[in-house]
Amino acid sequence: MSDAPLLEVKDLRVEFPTRRGTLVALDGVSFSIAPGEVLGVVGESGAGKSMTGAAIIGLLEPPGRIAGGEIRLNGRRIDNLPYEQMRRVRGREIGAIFQDPLTTLNPLYTVGHQLIETMRTHLDLSAAEARARAISWLEMVGIPAAAQRVDSYPHEFSGGMRQRVVIALALCAEPKLVVADEPTTALDVSIQAQVIALLKRLAREKGTSMMLVTHDMGVIAETADRVAVMYAGRIAEIGPVREVVKHPKHPYTAGLMASIPPLDRKVEHLAQIEGAMPRLSAIPKGCAFNPRCPKVFDRCRHERPDLMDTGATHAACWLYDKVENYA
């Protein structure tokens, strides 16, 4: 991994103007992804994981909009590009994989048509070349008899096969980064592992970086190099997967890890975090996690913590404020 990050997100803020005031969906989100790196993003529903992905590919659902911060790809700012220029970035430089393969493919076109159309939008290929590549992409993602199946319609494939097609579509214009938004959530458990293995293998072979959004810690542990834990639109903790899983620093991460049932011993009750994540319209002052935090102290209720160095990871928690602790 070289030093210059491929993707750099700095202080990203996403707002949703509504009739009853502006909701802040993402606030001060910063992270980077190095070339070839897989960054996992976990968190509860509504924590802003998918929103971050949507902001990066420039497809936030209106009226959501980026209200602050910047997103850089290879050093070039992409969060403020005009629509037409951003369109050329999508697919070509950043590929996207969505959650539900049953709905992400257009039912009226063959998979080959959709692959060829994507490649010819971004690459200078003749129709015959694009078709040959479409077939080889289908082979690469493990679709048997690809030369025949290239002319099949999406409804002629099973869910797992369709997600393989979606992966081929996301990668076929050879982007440097793939944003995968819960790519296995809608699949059967038995298929999930296959699809994740495929994604991991292709990313390694092509040297593609990946932002893997999921709420499945197992998938993260198996696939990602680093992981970002999100809570209420902010990053709670970010660091190497091993560290975050084994030695979580942020009390929220610790709670999250404790709630995963261990396989090696029997437990009477699963640990759980009391309460629920706040709604966007009622994010508490100070640290968003403070009403649920077992280690809360006065400062957490008034001041908002930024990411702080905890040694192996970075956590947004006042427990790790060195200046204060050494004072």
Partner: protein, 328 residues
Amino acid sequence: MFAFIVSRLLQAIPVMLVVALISFAMFAYVGDPVAIMLGQDFTEAQRAKLVQDLGLDQPFFVQFLKFVANAAQGEFGLSYRLSRPVAELIAERAPATLELAFCAAGLALVVGVPMGVYTGLYRNSWLSRLFLTFSLIGVSLPTFLIGILLILVFSVWLGWLPSFGRGEVVQLGWWSTGFLTWSGIKALILPSITLGLFQLTLIMRLVRAEMLEVLRTDYIKFARARGLGNRAVHFGHALKNTLVPVITIAGLQLGAIIAFAIVTETVFQWPGMGLLFIQSVGVADIPVMAAYLMLIAAVFVTINLVVDLLYYAVDPRLRVDRGVARGH
């Protein structure tokens, strides 16, 4: 595919039989043909002879079977009013109605679909709002009023277009067409607008609603995420997915345009089947009414068949015989 067409045609048979039954019932229950044909002055012997000639003394189902057999050959008897074969009368009038209906339907599609796409894509622009307001007028104003207003403006005040009739027509075999003369084309304009306006606004609103729906789907989001251009996303991916419901409605509306051109034809004194029908209703000319009813039913059945075939062309999921989802 062939099996599908055959099965559809078989399904059409009961529909046509029911319509035939209703048409036939009119002979029995609307007025007395014998009284109409005999006039004021007759003897009992004359009456009995006529009843026998017409076959009215035979059992009901025998009469009905005869009617169906004749109808199947396009034979509907003589018009009470004009004493000419009904089939001939309708063949004479059909070109006028069909030309008008196709112009109106063409106008509705050619203008309605693009307007629907535009209002779906740019739903907050002032032009979209204007289209929507205009469509409200089209939906709410009755046809005859639109016709009369158009006549007032374009025929009476401006004097640009004729207010009635087909203009000069050219005979091509048995088909008389207004497309080949300038006056024929001019005469088509106002009635086509009158007849097509409601369908135009309906199609526009339908396309708009479908576009809004489709633009929210995941595959459109994914198409954008793949970096496809706006043209490909809007027309290649979005519009094509709106077509199935649009084809359904457009097909039914074409049927409706042909069947219910009556009002427009009356307003513009258009020499078509609708005008013939309304004149026949006035004097209870039952053979003409029965034939018209059967013809309209046949039109609807045919259009439904064409619509079903178009579904197949548009939506691969319906081509079941090509293969069910295979395992992974």
